[in-house]
Amino acid sequence: MSKFTHSDLIVLLTAIGVILILSRIISEMGRRFKFPIVMGEIVVGILLGPTIVGTISPEFFERVFPKDGTVSIAFDGLVNLSVVLLLFVAGLEVQLPLVLKQGKAAIYTSFLGMIIPFATGFVAAYYFPMLLGQNESENVFFAIFIGTALSVSALPVIARILMDMNLFKSSIGMLIIASAMFSDLIAWLIFSFLLAMNSASQSSMGVGYTILYIIGFGLFMLTIGKKIIDRSLPWIQTKLSWPGGVLSISIGICLLCAAFTEKINIHAILGAFIAGIAFGDSAHLHEKAREIIHQFITNFFAPLFFVSIGLRVNFFENFDVMIVGIVLILAYFGKVLGATFGAYLGGLKINNAIAVGFGLNARGAMEIILGTLALSAGLISSKVFVALVVMALVTSLTSAPLIRKFYAEPKK
């Protein structure tokens, strides 16, 4: 077995350093134009990856970001760790009581904002896969994935958009946030189930056992596990070093849960996501601790993950106008229609219901993570993946102006 050498370490550290600094510079430039931070990171990936640098100077690209060997293995490990931690912070913000509290408006918006895009995506991918560049017809896994990909929302981007628009604490803002939390939860559960089914079909473990494990793990973590975490947090936050104690224990538990779900053939992301929900739901978790966890993961691991996407795929070669167009049409049609209809049934006026629809339409980072995992699992082609990335960015960029266009401020 080859060892990780002195020169390998230099290459790896250089690559990480370049990624972090460049993505920060580009993201800060984008911030001036209110672009989501993930956009800057994707652009850096495209710049450093096979699309630009890899085409201009293949030797340099291969030297800093080698495809094979120990550096590549080490970098892949870091990227996998990043996605696990990104799902942990996504879970940290899922607060089910908030959905219950928002009442029927949130329930209708979440459900219809999930079901209609899911059905739209599923039907299109199942019956007309050629439109998405797939040759194999009636592929259930592919259809479920497209349905899930179209129904997910991106809470970080949505929260940021609402904050910039000063709608964060308004009733419409809370409705969008609660519905996005619920959509995220369901989408990640479906996706984990899909990945588990995909791997179960290739392994000896039966589908029944896989479902049983998912339900068992989820129930345990969200009841007993959550109570244990809730009871331990005050002690962790007062008796251990601050904020080191809560940071290492929370991330440690996240990684153990991720390892457990990976071990039982469910993807590691589900363990991390549910661990995040269990931590995030605790009223004992200090706001400061939550902020520190977010800052640490969003500013170190997120750039590594999102830049790595551009390093893997050639965006120019895999950019297919028809697939991108179809994904965009399906994305806007399903999500905006579903969430708008749900919010309208929930009692909102039509203008505000449309604003909710466009608010939930922002896919951002969550869509990209979902797409990357599906690409790695062989569920989708690079062309579909590129279309999903473009869709995630376009929906995120258009969300704020479209909310602004339709939202009617309540009369004072």
Binding site: R31, E93, Q95, K101, G103, P156, V157, M163, A283, H294
Partner: protein, 294 residues
């Protein structure tokens, strides 16, 4: 038993014309009645005593003794003996007698199984269509006069009636100072700020949010009749229910006043704890749940 629900519809949450006390014949019943008598006297209320269970000679004798010790004339109170499901019967009798305030004794913390299954006092608190006062501490009216905290959720339609009820109660009990506390919870704010915010931006956003909420609280209190009572205003951050519970405990409050729940609470609300469930899980002090029929 037939009752006219129209009498309850839109009935204001105060004055407390009729106060009911749930009797369980526990060792603390004597103290509970002492307290109820003092509150009823202060608010000039009619007193109704309810026991759901078998009417035995021992219980009757025990009640007579307690009434005598507390200087309560039997002819001036209505005593109801009834049988059946304790929670359902008490709720029904409260409606039938147009009860404005139901006083119950409660442990500060129930054992975990009893809490999840639902103890009598807590189940009634979740379901009652009248205001409920849960007395936890070794009762003493003197204590109620000292540190009173009102949960003044600025964005809720029930808050103004609840504050007015709390102020009515405070005036009659001789409370001189009341703290009005507004909880602020911003889920996903940490995530939104981590997305891309500079340090001055984070400080500015947090400051603006706090100022905005303080203004809301202030204008809310301005709508209420505070009389001569000194009001302290405070904005706290954290999950609703949990934050005020912690605040009441830290401030060693004697009485915490909150709105009645907005929805039917079930077992799942105890699993995914929120709002009033944080308070009921571990009562920080005596608790007045105001049921405003808005």
């Amino acid at each position: 038993m037939e009752f006219d629900l129209h009498k309850l519809t839109k009935r204001p949450s105060f004055p407390f014309e009729t106060i009911a006390v749930g009797l369980s014949f526990s060792p603390r019943m004597d103290l509970l009645l002492t307290e109820a008598k003092k509150i009823a006297d202060a608010c000039s209320s009619k007193l109704v005593l309810i026991h759901v269970g078998e009417k035995t000679k021992e219980k009757q004798k025990s009640l007579e003794d307690i009434l005598f010790r507390n200087n309560i004339e039997e002819r001036k109170v209505k005593i109801i003996w009834s049988e059946g499901d304790v929670v359902d019967m008490i709720l029904k009798l409260c409606k039938l007698n147009i009860v404005d305030l139901l006083i119950l004794g409660a442990l500060e913390r129930e054992n975990i199984i009893k809490f999840y299954l639902g103890s009598i006092a807590r189940t009634i608190s979740r379901k009652a269509k009248c205001s409920v006062l849960l007395l936890t501490q070794a009762p003493s009216v003197q204590k109620l006069k000292q540190r009173m905290i009102v949960n003044a959720g600025a964005d809720h339609p029930k808050t103004v009636p609840s504050i007015n009820t709390a102020l009515y109660f405070a005036k009659h009990m001789g409370v001189k100072e009341v703290s009005m506390v507004h909880e602020v919870h911003s889920p996903a704010l940490a995530m939104a700020m981590a997305e891309s915010s500079s340090a001055p931006e984070v400080t500015k956003i947090k400051k603006e949010y706090t100022e905005e909420e303080s203004t809301k609280l202030h204008s809310l209190i301005a709508k209420c009749d505070t009389g001569n009572i000194k009001i302290n205003e405070k904005v706290i951050k954290g999950k609703p229910g949990y934050a005020i519970r912690q605040y009441a405990e830290t401030k060693k409050a004697d009485l915490l006043v909150i709105n009645s729940p907005d929805m039917h609470l079930t077992f799942f609300d105890r699993i995914f704890t929120h709002d009033i469930e944080y308070i009921l899980a571990d009562l920080p002090c005596n608790l007045l749940i105001v049921h405003s029929r808005v």
